[in-house]
Amino acid sequence: MTDATLPFIPSLDARGESYLDEGHTVTSWLTTTDHKRIAILYALSITIFFFIGGVAIGLARLELISPTGWFLTSDEYNRLFTLHGIIMVWFFLVPSIPTTMGNFLLPMMIGAPDVAFPRLNLLSWYLYVAGAAFTVYVVISGGVDTGWTFYPPFSSSYSHSNVIPAAIGVFIVGFSSIATGVNFLATIHMLRAPGMTWLRLPLFVWSMYAVSVVMVLATPVLAMSLLLISVERFFGLPIFNPEAGGDPLLFQHLFWFYSHPAVYIMILPAMGVVSEVFAAFARRRVFGYGFMVFSLMMIAVVGFMVWGHHMFVAGQSATANLVFSFLSFIVAVPSAIKVFNWTATLYRGHIGFEAPMIYALGFLGLFTIGGLTGLFLASVPIDIATTDTYFVIAHFHTIMVGGTVSSFMAGIHYWWPKVTGKMYNEFWAQFAAITMFLGFNLTFLPQFIMGWLGMPRRYHLYPDVFQIWHILSSAGAVILAAAYLMPLFYLTWSILYGRKAPPNPWNATGLEWQTLSPPPKPNFLRPPRVDADPYEYHDFGRSEEIGGEARARPQGGPT
């Protein structure tokens, strides 16, 4: 019950002791309600699942070097890509930034001692673990072969694999998302520090707000549709089964009504992170703050109205296709605006090239490529030609994996000193960032090409004319894997032997930098008061005339 009442004003005797020193036992971690420790728990769990999902697709990519396959059966291949999809979407990408950086930083950025419901926060992690346990069971007991999309009637009547445990795992982890979303919404509404008005919120907080809205509204629909699939499969209740008069397209509508917004669940937080990083490393106010906020909310809202673009060839009406095509073009506008604004943020800055900035620039590149290829797919005729081919695979990996993981890594490096109190090795981090960008493009640019040429997705065996592209892509995947593994080593090294980090190593303006590194349990020794806009890296409209650092004005500090 220690945190039940959430003293907003930390007790006067709050010691300057780091949250990491509040207990060193396993129990102290597993029963913690400190948002920072829960963030660490999440970070460890999603990292484990990221690498499980990565191994699954690594094996599949290795198999694809040969058009006739060489060490997997078709059933094994189908299980590998399904596992990859389920794990990466629900056990890595969806929770990635919100549950780690969101949990850790959201309260700090608004000057709060914790989230609004600390125990709900811990519960959400346990829900994640419960869902993950089902998924691990699926892996051990032979896998599932429906693809991450669970389309009936294949999933409900024809598949001979563990559909129900897989669906239950995703069902449960969905509630973890909902809990996080509710928590963040309440936190942002209720716990902002004095002076932290809505238009003083850092863009990361706005992105957490937008993503929470989407999580809370969309995830229940996923839960519903997976429940219906399980009920149909287990009890034989006719819901989607056409032989009993059911409609398999209904499932696709329900599924994409969640899963399209889910793409925004992955990318909105990424936008928030890079906004912080661009401002801090260009020493500039984010260009067009108001437009950036508006764009985030526009994307969150319009993102709910475009699910039908996943179904242009599914058998929905031509009129529906046109409407969804139109809305898909519309939802691309705010994303384009954000790209222009990030670029313009560099203008007249003092641009530094530390690792977070390189990752953020990688995000910008991949997000632009992914976004522009989204325009191709929003056009009905091109979508008809390229959907269910590698073009779509490349498109959504570029935007939601390339974008989100680049941004995730940018955030990890940017806030690493704050979270751990240690500096990482700059050279290795820069090297990993560049390697990741190159590896990513080598993996997915060939996939764009072979997709347009006609290579369908989810193919174990394929016409040999596409082999050269598959080999290039697999080679890229090797580089990418190296880029993903490197941080494990140099970041671990930094925890053990890294230089001690000062409270504000980047001279950044956010509230989270106005306290110790690592922060004490109540985040701030005294409650902060906010008296400035975010990103005041320079006086409005100008930066220092002559080179060197402009003087940054922090958003506020302990009063």
């Binding site: 078709s74 032989e243 260009f287 031509a318 222009f340 620039l361 191709f376 002559i546």
Partner: protein
């Protein structure tokens, strides 16, 4: 296998899709070049430590820039939409008097039925310069007929008809395949699209093992299943007359009006309770489980022939 079997644009529509693709590619390339260029210039001028003066950007100007590129983006996206949609709208209207070929998908093969009665598996012969309309259904899970050379793709659903139409403008052998994940052997559920000249197509059809055409096969079924017992004008049992039914609007018992297309006829045979016709008692037996997809196709072909060719096949059935 050569790449031409995938990349050749084998219809005018496919050429249009390619043009749209190139248009968006070029414009996307320009946008990427613009952003990359700006970033490189900003790096060169404003890297940390550069001595370049950083002057003022007035707030008003900031807003003008912001609104400027917002509007530019909106208009260029609307232009893309207009271009793509106009391509699509012209392709929306199914051609009249198209050659109708039935496609039945099942794990993991394609069965094709030509109107002449000719059947093939994993191979689809069509005449060039002719409107072809595929009427497709699946016997099990969702499949998807994907013909890269036509830039076309359509999901094939169980218990429902979906359609694809195209007019091939060249002869040759192309690839088609399944694009919706359908289980173990999804990746080998492929076949050849053979576009022949109309003469060669006719020759190919006549060289097939001769049987009755689809409509005649349907007429035989219509009798053997006992349909003709009720659905004749002089029957004692009150059942709708099926002459000229296809393509006509039908008034249903629940007040809806529905056009009697393939899907409607199919539902009437397999799910008679779904769309009951106004003015008739619910006596129609349920034929699901009795007839397979191929036989439904034959029955429908027969019913359609009742609307087009009154003299020939009708008599065969009425007796």
């Amino acid at each position: 296998m050569s790449l031409d079997q995938f990349t050749t644009a084998a219809s005018d529509y496919a050429v249009k899709v390619d043009h749209l693709f190139y248009l968006i590619s070029v414009l996307s390339g320009l946008i990427v070049a613009l952003i990359t260029g700006l970033i490189v210039v900003f790096f060169a001028l404003y890297y940390r430590g550069s001595r370049r003066p950083r002057g003022e950007v007035p707030e008003r100007k900031t807003h003008e820039i912001e609104i400027g590129w917002t509007v530019a983006t909106v208009f260029s996206f609307l232009f893309f939409f207009w271009w793509a949609a106009s391509d699509q709208i012209t392709a929306l209207v199914p051609p009249k008097d198209a050659l109708e070929i039935h496609v039945i998908a099942k794990q993991w093969m394609w069965r094709i039925q030509h109107p002449s009665g000719a059947r093939e598996i994993n191979e689809l012969h069509v005449p060039a310069d002719t409107d072809v309309r595929l009427v497709m259904t699946s016997q099990d899970v969702i499949h998807d007929l994907y013909v890269p050379a036509l830039r076309l793709k359509q999901d094939v659903l169980p218990d429902r008809y979906t359609y694809l139409w195209f007019e091939p403008n060249r002869t040759g052998i192309f690839h088609f395949t399944c694009a919706e994940f359908c289980g173990t052997d999804h990746s080998v559920m492929a076949g050849r699209l053979v576009i022949a000249s109309p003469q060669d197509y006719a020759r190919w059809v006549s060289a097939q093992p001769q049987g009755d055409d689809l409509a005649h096969q349907g007429a035989t079924l219509f009798r053997s299943l006992g349909c003709s017992g009720c659905h004749t004008p002089d029957s004692t049992i009150h059942a709708p007359d099926l002459h000229g039914l296809y393509g006509r609007p039908v008034q249903l018992a629940d007040g809806r009006t529905i056009t009697a297309d393939e899907a409607y006829l199919r539902d009437c045979i397999l799910l008679p309770g779904k769309n009951r016709v106004a003015g008739f008692p619910p006596l129609m037996p349920d034929f699901s489980g009795t007839v397979d997809e191929g036989q439904v196709v034959e029955l429908i072909a027969y019913l359609k022939s009742l609307s087009t060719d009154q003299n020939d096949t009708t008599q065969g059935a009425a007796r």
